[in-house]
Amino acid sequence: MIRLDSLTKVFDTPKGAVVAADHISMEVPAGEICILLGPSGCGKTTTLKMINRIVRPTSGKVFINGDDTTGMDTQTLRRNIGYVIQQIGLFPNMTIEENITVVPRLLGWDKARYRERARELMAMIALEPDAFLKRYPSELSGGQQQRIGVARALAADPPVMLMDEPFGAIDPINRAVIQDEFLKMQQALNKTIMFVSHDIDEAIKMGDRIAIFREGRLVQYDTPDDLLTAPKDAFVESFLGEDRALKRLNLVKVREIVSDEIGSVTPSDTLETALARIDDFGYSNAILMVNDKRQPAGIVSRSVARTTKGYCRDHFQSVPAAVHLDDDLRKVASLMFAHDITWLPCVDDDGRVCGQITQRAITSHLGSRYRARQAADATAAKE
């Protein structure tokens, strides 16, 4: 848990005092990722760096797991907070092993223990220990270096991590991969994380909560979904973008709105049966054909079923696409647009059909939040 209480930073400049962070109060619950988001110069980085005193607060307090850090020794405080920066900052004179064990060594761990830890960490970030531990940072790619940067921050297993645009300097393809890996790691590690970003998409993807900053003030602090449905003011709205409703597609998994009711036929059914099923289920165009393992095998269209006689196995078209239960709605919508269809079969881990997802279900799910909000507003207006 990280709690900030009226944290303030005033910089004295030749042009007078500049308030970089103005009475920031917020709390990140244990095990959550909080994204500090905002345009440059909004105070998000200053706020982050006051937590480990890279920037010394002018006033206010920082609590970590309920303890006031004000009286703590700076070095001890920092050794108990993982710190990842955009420029990575691996020490070029040290091997990868020396880099990732630097905090344990500062803490005085014995050799056997920190060497063992180095191997554990490498396994965690999916880099082969024997291939990498003895190499130097300059021999690694940018993405590999940032993985090492994350491993270094995790080395002494700190409960709290601060990350300052950690994936900002990595190319988009690798960035997405590292983000996914990091989220997977976080599921197991449950660190309490403050994460600075200026990328709204990254914030939505990574954050359990998002804090929007503007000119040194915390404007809005909410879950991504609440933020996107109910931006507090015009600034937040414009920062989130005109397409903010679409961004919510990223937040919802197929699992949440899948309908397990799906009519299907097998290859040995007749087209007559297929037509009957299409009518029974009220489908307008076609019905899914599954094989004996219940995997999607094809589509039998209504027009074929009506005008032709025979078996489904001889008169089907290929399945345009299927989505997995853990895919997000953004992928679903994209596939629907690409194939000009309004529904898609959903499959589980074994590739077996377990339901369907329709365009209507998507719009209805996304819309429910807005409807609930309008209703609440209407009630509030009456009172």
Binding site: Q75, R78, Y83, G89, N93, L162
Partner: protein, 221 residues
């Protein structure tokens, strides 16, 4: 031919003078490194102090060596060392300050700010930062300063022969006073060769001392 013959005939003397020369410069630059590196590190903490120290060191290096020896004679005579070994070593010590202090200061100051922030952020104390990160990264540039000091002062030390410090300069001073071009040229060539050989040896040492992971970066610099 005559020169080579002379050099061979006096090979023992030449060797002992060369060793004497190396010992003088070695002791003086060694002491200068022991003072210059800590001074160079210390002044990175205070910019105004850094400016004054570097300014003072620059002034010292502009004093002609003959003049410096002249100044030291009456001062050091007070402790009975007006000429000879002591003033020679002191002169070289002073001349070495600028290259060593300046290179140390620049090298430490130029350590990538991101590395410094990373070092602070993971909880290194200022001394740990110096020992584990800043000094290892600064070693190549500091060594380059030491090399400059050594090469510069192999020349200065040749002049110290005039105040009786010994070394290869003795050949030159005798060559001039005895109008013997053989001694003069052998002395001059020996000083030049020594400077070149020592410079390359120190370059090799510098490469050995450069942290392994930085070799690629250092070779392109």
């Amino acid at each position: 031919m005559e020169l080579i013959q002379y050099a061979f005939d006096n090979i023992d003397l030449l060797a002992s003078r060369t060793l004497e020369h190396i010992a003088l410069v070695g002791v003086a630059v060694g002491l200068a490194t022991l003072t210059g590196v800590p001074i160079g590190i210390a002044i990175t903490r205070n910019e105004r102090l850094a400016r004054s120290v570097l300014y003072a060191a620059s002034i010292i290096i502009t004093i002609p060596s003959i003049a410096l020896f002249g100044i030291m004679i009456p001062i050091l005579s007070l402790i009975g060392h007006g000429i000879g070994y002591v003033p020679a070593v002191i002169a070289v010590l002073l001349y070495s300050q600028l290259p060593i202090i300046r290179n140390t200061y620049t090298a430490i100051n130029n350590v990538n700010p991101a590395l410094r922030e990373a070092a602070r952020g993971i909880g290194m104390s200022p001394n740990q930062r110096l020992r584990m990160v800043e000094i290892p990264l600064a070693v190549p540039v500091i060594m380059a300063g030491v090399r400059t000091a050594v090469v510069l002062n192999i020349g200065v030390m040749a002049i110290a022969a005039y105040i009786g410090a010994g070394g290869l300069g003795t050949f030159i001073s005798r060559g001039i006073s005895q109008s013997d071009p053989r001694q003069l040229i052998v002395g001059a060539v020996a000083v030049s060769l020594l400077a070149i050989i020592v410079d390359y040896s120190l370059l090799a040492l510098q490469k050995r001392l450069t942290p392994k992971g930085m070799e690629r970066a250092a070779s392109t610099a």
